[in-house]
Subunit: 291 residues, 2 copies
């Protein structure tokens, strides 16, 4: 059994963190002839026509807008992301970030995740939460500094737990109120201040489905750039089957067998499982065993 | 071997999330005769005199200041945290949150973690990052709403990886530039947008110590309320011993044997290991095996 690729992981870039603190190095990298830029048009990355690769623009092709440093490729060439409206005549198309991630299905999608999360954060964090004054971009896009009160702000990453509760060969899947019809997935929720990942799994399953669990086992993780989650997948053992749904979070839930999960992953069930891009797919496939 | 308790985990409260959305229920809980309040004086929780338990104030004893809902205890009695200056005549003492966590050494410390992280967030997030206008507390303290642009903001939790790289029976520990003399711990760093937990472990070890690793294994997690981290402990296999330290992050590092780690945890080595409150202690103790 080959290991399933986790969506948005496997970035091929060296983030070269030490360069971020060196404004002259970043400026030199930006002006270097080998520099290339991933343009995000309203947070949609540009894909080359045909849709099989990212479109990497030259400096002369980029629009006005915030540029953040992504890192260096395997040849040491600098890569940036730019938030702006591209020229119509580029041989490229702005593509929904989920669709682009699914089309690439490899480490290149991780570049989209990094670019989209950081640029989106800048869009919504132009002011200082501490004093209300405008802030300025620092460190090649990895910080904003308030000139008024001196507070420094960093791009946010929100830890999220996503989990399969299981008991006696059955696992719990649910459908959110805004999910497409027939679509079921693993339950999920944000980790709160003052709890561990394992406690968040147990709390969310109790809040959303009314079940108690023990034996929480971490499985894998992925970034999810909508806007900037770190999804952490886990398994847990349920103490009973009886559900009490929080209908604001879960419209419908069911206990499914491994056979049913395998059928759903193969597109042969009366319900739809999440696509390979999402860690919920990994959780279900890992739990059910792939044929 | 009993399982080591992870600091700040095991909260005995039911967070009763559904009540947060119900302002009338929160108000009734606050006025209920069984309601009790943990006062934090400049983010230091009040401990009862003698220092063996938290001090739970009655409503008549609390200072003016923001109160957030913590949850319900096992008897369904409401518990809150208040940010304010307590009366001098209370039989209680404001205690450093690390010291208080170490003194309690059980699930009661998790209450401090929740209270301190959320109250600290409010202190530093009175304004809307999106538009700069003042925001207002919502949902019993779990959200702030901007009346000007409508943006809703949630308490932040920052995922952090903390890890032991190991090779041939040796593990890597390091000393930060601001650590007390002789104190070594596991290396750590913030997860960035667009990477998995496992990728963050590998990136941080490369950035800070110059080593490459594979086979990252998640171990355990804990909340760390300074100000609001989710610490995720992991192990990884190093590909070589040669170090190249980033001296802004690591002043000194060394490869240590299991025997040396056991000696340090017992206070019998020429270097000091982290205290039981910190997950780095769990990582070292789990790796070295306790006698």
């Amino acid at each position: 059994m080959t290991r399933l690729h986790l969506g948005y992981t496997g970035a091929p870039l060296d983030k070269a963190d030490h360069m971020r603190r060196d404004a002259a190095a970043i400026q030199a990298a930006r002006m270097h002839p080998s520099a290339r830029f991933l343009i995000l048009d309203d947070l949609k990355p540009l894909m080359a026509e045909g849709g099989t690769d990212l479109f990497w623009a030259r400096r002369s092709e980029i629009p006005t807008g915030l540029a953040i440093f992504l890192g260096l490729n395997a040849d040491g060439e600098p890569r940036f992301a730019v938030d702006g409206k591209p020229d119509d005549d580029l041989p490229a198309r702005a593509t929904d970030a989920r669709a682009a991630g699914a089309l690439l299905a490899d480490g290149r999608a991780a570049i989209i995740a990094q670019a989209r999360s950081v640029l989106d954060w800048h869009r919504r964090h132009g002011f200082c939460a501490n004093c209300g004054a405008p802030t300025e971009v620092q460190k090649a896009g990895y910080s904003r500094l308030c000139g008024s009160c001196g507070a420094e702000h960093f791009p946010r990453v929100d830890p999220v737990v996503i989990m399969l509760a299981e008991k006696d060969g059955l696992a719990l899947v649910g459908r959110g109120p805004r999910f497409p019809a027939g679509f079921f997935s693993a339950l999920a929720g944000f980790v709160e201040p003052g709890e561990s990942l394992e406690e968040a799994v147990a709390r969310e399953l109790h809040e959303e489905a009314g079940i108690r669990v023990h034996g929480v086992r971490y499985g894998a993780s992925q970034p999810w750039p909508f806007p900037s989650s770190l999804m952490m997948g886990a398994f847990a053992t349920a103490e009973g089957f009886e559900l009490a749904l929080d209908e604001s979070e879960i419209a419908e839930a069911r206990w499914v067998s491994r056979e049913e999960v395998r059928a759903a992953l193969a597109g042969e069930a009366d319900w739809k499982a999440p696509p390979p891009l999402a860690i919920a797919h990994w959780l279900l496939a890992t739990w059910a065993g792939r044929p």
